[in-house]
Symmetry: C2
Subunit: 306 residues, 2 copies
């Protein structure tokens, strides 16, 4: 089943202990779409500026991603500059230029309206909500957010959460959103705001899937590993790639069984780990489904008793 994703398509300038790269293609929707495209059809809603051309379009076309919903506006594309020199798990933002995103009003192309899955990548919750309201009939809605929206744009974010089936955030974001240091209690707190499932990403330690219907400590909780990586070249987009692998795999399944969610967590970790291996989207662009399934097996061996 097809996924529509709304989020940023952008340029990033990134510095990590492995080096520096200026103006790579980036943005949450880009990473999400590339990762999900290995599993299902993906359609992107975003806005870009005049600096987005044939070279960038080709990255999406090569993965058969529908970019009919990427609007061209006059001005420059969203731009982010950050570094991970002290801590690979947390970016230090040096500069954010919203540019064309500042006046973005997302519109859903008619060709996108039969999408069964909707992903609200990390952008202004006001925009997330506007897209959600235009697609009331989707079967499954997931979303992401970040501390900036949690801290400074809480009311519209809380409205978005009411319309989500699944929220994907990291440890710190879950704790801040729920106001509880304990991760199990924080998970319960976040799910009381709307989403019936919550994926908390632990960076190099993997991720945990919580279900609303059950208490924290039973078999409905599922923990997927991350690969211990010897060299993290660039962690930018790892969380969005996790989301793309997770949601893309779910959309490819005939039924959303508990087993499908477990495998989806593993595929999320696989895509997140690949994303870190090169700057920007480079590794995802070159990836094959065979490599994805090979790493899935590595993850199984890394964590399974037999």
């Amino acid at each position: 089943m097809a996924i529509t994703v709304v989020g940023s398509v952008a340029y990033d300038s990134i510095e990590t202990p492995a080096g520096r790269k200026d103006r790579c293609l980036g943005g949450a929707a880009t990473y999400f779409a590339l990762a999900a495209s290995f599993f299902t059809d993906v359609r992107v809603i975003a806005v870009v500026g005049e600096d987005f051309g044939a070279e960038q379009e080709a990255v999406f076309h090569a993965r058969k991603i529908d970019i009919g919903g990427i609007e061209r506006a006059s001005g420059k594309s969203f731009f982010w500059e950050g570094s991970y020199l002290e801590n690979l798990n947390e970016a230090k933002t040096h500069n954010t230029e919203l540019n064309v995103f500042a006046s973005f009003n997302p519109k859903i192309p008619d060709a996108y309206r039969d999408s069964d899955f909707l992903f609200l990548a990390n952008i202004d919750p006001v925009l997330q909500r506007r897209v959600r309201e235009q697609m009331p009939d989707v079967k499954l809605v997931a979303g992401d957010t970040m501390n900036y929206w949690i801290n400074d744009h809480r009311p519209p974010l809380l409205e978005v959460l009411k319309g989500l089936d699944i929220l994907l955030i990291n440890d710190t974001e879950a704790r801040v959103l729920a106001g509880d240091k304990n991760l199990v209690k924080a998970a319960r707190g976040v799910m009381s705001m709307g989403p019936r499932m919550l994926v908390i990403k632990h960076g190099e330690y993997g991720a945990t899937l919580f279900h609303k219907s059950v208490e924290g400590r039973d078999s409905e909780t599922f923990r997927a590993p991350a690969l211990p990586l010897e060299e993290v070249v660039d962690p930018t987009g790892a969380g969005d790639s996790f989301a793309g692998g997770f949601f893309g795999y779910l959309a490819s399944q005939p039924q959303l069984t508990p087993g499908a969610f477990r495998r989806a967590m593993f595929y999320g970790s696989v895509m997140g780990s690949y994303a870190c291996e090169r700057f920007g989207t480079e590794r995802l662009e070159q990836l094959s489904r065979k490599e994805i399934d090979e790493r899935f097996q590595v993850f199984r061996e890394l964590t399974h008793l037999d």
Copy 2:
């Protein structure tokens, strides 16, 4: 096969968000021995003061732990006071009184000499080495240490590492010991100092087992989960209990196959998670083998795809 453990048997005064308890029975060798006693025969080498009496002995006797090697000295037992008010993953030490441990010279009882497994719990590496040298014929030696010894007693610690098959430490300790922030590289650095296997404990995120013979990223690496706990009453001794479950299970196995090591990692996590549920050794004292195997199954369901 029997395990001999050398380490502290002590009193702890502990404050956590769940409350405060003064002068509980504690010490690394105590937690290790209690946890390992569910799997195999355990023999303890330690020193205690005149404040250690029949009530404390009964805790060991109830679990059929041999305390013939616990020496009684005049003076007071080792005492530690600490709190976890801000961070449940890291104790803040308020007071450490070595007392009778200051002049301890470990002696191996004859009845302990046929032990096939030796565990050097976290104490002065000079004492760890003295015990290791008196038991040259054991089949498997594992040990623990902490940042204090890594930072301020490095030369004797490096001597101990040369005689270890397995070292169990946490993330921070591995990074400090190897001088490398990357965990895979740190693991390789630590193993180049002697141990052919390394267990790095990640607190609430589980633990990873590394083997020297292989590169970081293959099937010889194994990651065991920790249980997402809703209420951590007291994390004191969780790492020692992990070590007891891990090493105790190994000692109970007819052969040390790769599968035995994987199951041992799970049993380590099980014992660590139980230790946190009550103050001091209370939960380990009341535990049953049935509960241990039930939680083993919970861990399997928490992480296994099918």
